[in-house]
């Protein structure tokens, strides 16, 4: 297993996973996944439906904890620190590892309250002015400030799908996470909104370690620097995006990207 070392460049190793196993009851959903995810770049997980890529993504902020009879084994370290160690509080971890979901899911509250929610529950702002500043900065980074600055009191659910997803990204950014997990963030959006989100993701990698799951190989090719290919619960191949798409080393990867399996 040398895949995790292939592909140089980018930042330092942010997340390192070793021999991760995930069971849903009797179903062994993910086996022996070892991967190093680097900071300040976009890592894409691709693979056919049910291959375990979303499952693995949800291990990285312990969202799988909320699913009953889901068992995670192995070792996942964020900055060298075991995130499944008993002293790690998942609530705290999820503030450091933000997540954006497949379907835009703003709270049925105002745009302002959506973004302010994270900072509020974690006590990141001392006063209203500071909170206003966090909200504005997050909305700017989410590339949606110009569209909503005049109607921060409007419900987040009144926005269009693409705007909602950017709002959700802004909401995730507001807690100043180190890692941003995105679970197929564009699959419910039209091509124009998708292009906007992709542009935003490219912008975000300057500050964050971005990990995204995607169904679209073109999207992985467009926005990611490194790509991991999952198949039947296993990590088949992991490397630089260019290399995966042009010169895959595993025949299964080749079959998938040329459209023969999937």
């Amino acid at each position: 297993m040398t895949q995790q070392e292939t592909g140089a460049g980018g930042g330092e190793i942010k997340i390192s996973a070793r021999d991760v196993q995930v069971h849903y009851g009797d179903n062994h959903a993910l086996r022996d996944v070892s991967v190093d995810i680097r900071d300040k770049m976009v890592t894409a997980f691709i693979g056919p439906s049910g291959c375990g890529k979303s499952t693995f993504l949800r291990c990285l902020n312990r969202m799988n904890d909320t699913i009953e009879d889901c068992r995670v084994e192995g070792d996942i370290r964020l900055d060298g620190e075991d995130i499944y160690a008993p002293e790690v509080d998942p609530v705290h971890l999820r503030a450091r590892v933000g997540m954006v979901f497949q379907k835009p899911n703003p709270f049925p509250k105002s745009i302002y309250d959506n973004v302010a929610y994270g900072p509020r529950i974690h006590g990141l702002a001392k006063n209203k002015a500071e909170l206003d500043e966090i909200v504005e900065k997050s909305l700017r980074r989410g590339a949606i400030w110009d569209e909503v600055k005049d109607r921060l009191d409007a419900p987040g659910t009144s926005l269009s799908g693409g705007q909602q997803q950017r709002l959700c990204i802004a909401r995730a950014i507001a807690t100043s996470p180190e890692v941003l997990l995105m679970d197929e963030p564009c699959s419910a959006l039209d091509p124009i909104a998708t292009a906007q989100i992709e542009e935003l993701i490219d912008e975000l990698r300057r500050q964050f370690c971005v990990v995204m799951v995607t169904h679209s190989m073109q999207q992985a090719a467009r926005v990611s620097q490194r790509t991991a290919f999952f198949h039947l619960g296993q990590l088949v191949e992991y490397g630089e995006t260019g290399q995966i798409f042009t010169n895959p080393s595993d025949p299964r990867t080749e079959s998938y990207i040329t459209g023969r399996i999937g």
């Binding site: 902020n61 969202m63 909320t66 009953e68 609530v91 705290h92 971890l93 999820r94 503030a95 933000g98 997540m99 954006v100 979901f101 379907k103 899911n105 703003p106 709270f107 049925p108 929610y117 994270g118 529950i121 974690h122 659910t157 959700c168 909401r171 995730a172 807690t175």
Partner: protein, 428 residues
Amino acid sequence: MTQSPPAERKVDWKDPQLAATLRARHARERRLKLLGLASLGAAFAMLFILLASLAASGYKAFVQTHVTMDFIISEQNVSPDKPEKGKYRKVVAESLQAVFPEVSRKEMRQLRKILSNGAQYMVRDAVVADPSLIGGVLRLTVPVSDPYDQLNKGEIDRATPEANRRLSDREIAWFDRLKEAGMISTPFNKALFLNADSRFPELAGLKGALWGSFYALLVCFLLSFPIGIGAAIYLEEFAPRNRFTDIIEVNINNLAAVPSVVFGLLALAVFLGWFNLPRSAAFVGGMTLALMTLPTIIIATRAALKAVPPSIREAALGLGASRQQVVFGHVLPLAMPGILTGTIIGLAQALGETAPLLLIGMNAFITSAPESAFEPATALPTQIFIWADSPERGFAARTSAAILVLLGFLIIMNLTAVILRRKFERKW
């Protein structure tokens, strides 16, 4: 894929057989619609018959025949020192004698029955409130007794032979004289709402039952709403799924189906028997009703919590909200319309519940409205039960009127449920 695909089968969409099946499908749909309309129509017809028959028999109870006459308050009968101890029976008799001077002392006993038994107390209360009336004349409007009220409302047929009639010819003649003199009026029956129960229909009212129901429902709400929501939140959001919680779940669903009389027996044994709580009290009634309402609220709340989209939970969890913050900050507010609807429907059910209240004695004959939840009281449905059981003619109409009042409250509660639902419902 080694074998070749099967040869393509041509479908002729103009085939008359296909057209026939299509027609049959449409016919089936039309039949279903017709059946639906018919059942709706039947339901509405039933409802209409119910309301119409109640209104037809109950509307008469909303007015009450009164007589306005002068009561002579002589110092002989009422001493100015103790106006509350006066001989008011005599005052009433003498005042009637003044209207009917030809009536003999013997007939007086009959004549006095034209006024409600409560008339003497009304005169007393007026005199006590204003002692300057002593030695003068008091003009007061008092209810007539039930047979005369029935006569005035046309319930007593003058064509019936005298022997089979509640009132004799002479009694009817007296009443007609009062009527000709313009002393009879039929105003709105305020007593129906301002009086508590009475042996005399013309004096009986729902005040005690309304207060009793109010206190019982208040206690029921205060107990079942927080406990029910708490139990539902724990079961739905925090409890592990294991055999123990499965058993609890099955039992809650079973409890919702337990006949209410069983809850009444339980309350009788536990609340009254063991804890020696007061009999007939609205507080105990409320606790009993809470036992019945709890499963309804728990089930409605759990369903409402389940209906909150998981994406909202994930969003909050993904931002690092704790389980409790997710539940109280996001899930519960979104589930509120469903919870409120379930609660109000549960309370409406409790409002109409009779059997458990009978067992804890809330069907007692109580002539004063309760001042608190711990005093003996009746409730609306038990009051209906008592009145329906009473032989006096006047109670028949009052029973229907009380049912109309109860239905009115039920409609108001259900409307509140709809309005609250509309108000709190959020779109996404």
